[in-house]
Amino acid sequence: MNTKIKNNLPAVSESLTLNLKKMKSDFGESNDLLIREVTLQDTHSTKAAIVGIDGLIDATNAQDFVIKLLTADLAGDLPRNGDAIFDFLFESWISLFDANQGESVQSLYDNILNGHVIVLIDGAARFMMFDCKGWQSRSITMPSTEKSLWGPKDSFVETIRFNTAMLRRRMRDPRLRFDAHQVGHMTKTDVFVAHVEGLTNPEFVRLANERIKAIDIDTIANAYELIQLIEDKHHTLLPRLIETERPDRVMKALSEGQVAIFVDGSPYAILGPFFFTSAFSAIDDYYNLPLLASVKRAMRYLAFFAVILIPALYVAVSTFHQEMIPTPLLITIINQRSANPFSTLVEILIVTILFEILREASLRKPDAIGDSMTIVGSLIIGTTIVESGLVSYMAIIIGSITTISSFLLSSSRINVAARLYKFVFLAIGATLGFYGITLAFIILITHLASLTSFNQAYLAPMAPFNLSDQKDQLIKMPLWWMKKRPKIFQPLDTVRSNLENTGGDQHAN
């Protein structure tokens, strides 16, 4: 019988056999659905069943269950009905920590697939569930994309509960909240929106929650798919929400007023809102000398513009504006190119595409061939292609400078955008010269200014300009300067700390 409980979901029936039959048919006689029927030690030999999915539950724990139930002393003054036995067992006997009751079939299925052990008592139209998660999960390793030399070296894993645990370990504020959602009809992936109550601007939390609730999709496998679904809608290559695999970075972001979104099954957490200038700061900037951080940030900005502009500028200058090259350099370049069959544009295209191919290949290689791939690729192919006279040395130099500059940015999605924009600029520089490059640059800046992330201007704090936030953008100020939180995240509580009185005694006697 399919009775319905108050919110209109089909309910678990009182009869154990019916329940078990329904479960077996819904799961298609699957051989990883474990059902253990026991007879309780009471005067009426009530039947009970323990159900779990093999592989998701911890076998030792489950065994303890069975022992517990089999040894339950139910003789005594208990009434006969299943409900009483149910309550007795649930409240007084089974001692597991994470325990719950449920009534609907959907909730039973959701929980059993989430690593819970379900206990059904004949005669009670409810079920008990206990969290016995025991699946294999990857152990905590070094982060693969955001390596830090001086910081902590742990990264998130695929199980969302472990990730939130890592975050809790770092931020021990009880105000840290996780808003839970489930995304995906088939995957029912847990998605937690983490924020600090009283600090994070509620507008961001509301936006994140609303957008996640509005998702209608069947599967979600990774954090990036979630990003695509909840980002502000723009036609652009640039990221408006960023993902990270470092818990210390998530902790810092939360403390500034950002929102963090965890996705089960993905070792990446999503941070938002994300601004353009945040792409140029790496986590190591906080773990070393601030002056070094400022220099490195300047280098990263330089690298971004170098990747975009250098091939285009070279082609434009050498085909349209030769008067800008000093004469000795011009003579050297001409001399290298004198027998080359291809025009400058084709040369640069060949070299750039070759370097992109090599780069992709080195990412996917198995480690054994790894080093030889680098040697084969760069040295042999590069040298051969020049010495055979197909391209000139100058093209290889330009290609190498571009590729190496893009390595400076390689930990963020800006790298991908820069590499793609490079081709656009190259096409424009080769046809329209400096004028075209200038126009394209203006269009790029305008485009950047028009993007938003969680409805905040993408180029903040540069435009609209915000003087107090400049202390962590291009230049990184020392820690004692950063007493207030950045305004771009609009936190509710702007004062970070009072660092006047910390630190060593300056007038030590």
Partner: protein
């Protein structure tokens, strides 16, 4: 599938822009002909222009059998027409943007350098910081024909030597804008470098051995690589004179020593040596390290004064004198001062009487210092200048004598 026509418009616009207007002025680097130097001569009907074009693959290449440059010559009634003809003759796209030097004939210099300046400045592709050089006792294109050892391209060699006035104080380097200003104004007249060809006549025609083992001969024009195969090249380019102009017409030459004095008046150099002879046997030289020259004018009385404040160090001394004694120092500095004053006076005299051209800028100083008086005499400066009395006053200061310490126990 119906395509929204709006999305066809943008790619169509881009494609038509690129196809119709893009890459219009594009020149591949291999097809670029870099003109390194121009030489302008006069003929009966007009001008003969010679362009020296670089062939880069021979410069940084291995075999030097070929020269890295080649010259193209054409005639025309105007300079521009002659250049157009050269453009037709050449197989590569000529580019004047890397032009280094323009060499002109003495005849053009005497007739007026204005047409050359007109040609060079009106075009937008000639850089205005290049030098104009006068060819002395030679045709302008002979100057461009001489192969020099310093730089394989004669045109840049002229430029290179023009770039060292700060070291030798014998040359001037004015860019085109400065030349035009000086030509147009009464304030000062321009002085340009004059290049001449120096030949060792007895060595011409001798056999020299080339790198690849064959034999070559040196020629009179010095236009083959054989010219530089010997340590002392038989045919060399030298800048030994400066050409003095009045307005835009050349009026004469001044030589090395006078060129140094000229630069001292303008205060525009770094080092000058005064050599004096004492008692006909002993030489003392002062290396002047600091110089201040100031020109004051007194047009009412037709006078002008050039005041020098020199200070320097004794560089060479063979006269047996004890420099720790200040009286001796004063005596020596008097000798040096006298020497300098005599030289300067002689030079000023020559400029006034022979050249009759105000190259010191006295007119300009008068214009700023005595504006009202100048206004009355405006336009007559070229007649007034030779009649001026120019006084030279010198103050000399010896800073150091370069002693060796004498340890007396």
């Amino acid at each position: 599938m119906r395509i929204n026509k709006k999305w066809l418009l943008l790619p169509l616009v881009i494609v038509s822009l690129i196809a119709l207007t893009g890459c219009l002025e594009r020149v591949e680097l291999n097809k670029l002909g870099i003109v390194a130097g121009l030489a302008i001569d006069t003929t009966d009907e007009g001008y003969t222009l010679t362009a020296q074009i670089l062939n880069p693959s021979a410069i940084s290449g291995e075999a030097h059998n070929g020269l890295p440059i080649y010259n193209l010559t054409a005639d025309g009634e105007s300079i521009h027409e002659a250049y157009k003809k050269i453009d037709f003759l050449s197989s590569s796209a000529l580019s004047l943007s890397h032009l280094n030097v323009i060499v002109i004939n003495e005849d053009i210099a005497k007739a007026g350098v204005a047409p050359v300046l007109n040609f060079a400045l009106r075009r937008d592709d000639i850089r205005p910081d290049i030098n104009i050089v006068v060819a002395k006792d030679a045709h302008a294109n002979d100057i461009l024909n001489v192969v020099t050892a310093l730089d394989m391209i004669p045109a840049t060699q002229i430029n290179v030597s023009s770039m060292i006035p700060t070291h030798t104080a014998r040359l001037t380097s004015y860019n085109l804008y400065e030349v035009v200003d000086m030509v147009n104004s009464d304030a000062i007249n321009v002085v340009l470098n004059a290049v001449s060809i120096h030949r060792e006549e007895d060595r011409l025609g001798e056999k020299v051995e080339r790198k690849n083992g064959t034999e070559g001969t040196t020629t009179q024009t010095g236009q083959t690589v054989d010219n530089i195969l010997d340590i002392t090249a038989p045919v060399q380019l030298r800048i030994e004179h400066l050409a003095v102009f009045n307005g835009d017409k050349m009026v004469g030459f001044i030589d090395d020593a006078e060129a140094q004095l000229y630069n001292m008046v303008l205060g525009d150099y770094k080092r000058y040596d005064i050599v004096t002879q004492i008692d006909e046997d002993y030489y003392t030289s002062l290396g002047v390290t600091k110089i201040k020259s100031k020109i004051t004018t007194d047009l009412e009385h037709n006078e002008a004064t050039i005041k020098f404040e020199l200070s320097g160090i004794i560089l060479e001394n063979t006269y047996p004198v004890d420099f720790t004694n200040t009286e001796n120092l004063d005596a020596i500095s008097d000798y040096l001062k006298q020497e300098f004053e005599d030289d300067m006076n002689a030079f000023v005299n020559k400029v006034q009487t022979e050249l009759k051209s105000d190259i010191f800028g006295i007119g300009g100083k008068a214009h700023t210092q005595e504006h009202k008086v100048w206004k009355e005499k405006d336009g007559y400066w070229s007649e007034l200048f030779p009649e001026l009395t120019i006084h030279v006053e010198v103050e000399l200061d010896i800073n150091s004598v370069g002693e060796i310490g004498n340890v007396t126990l």
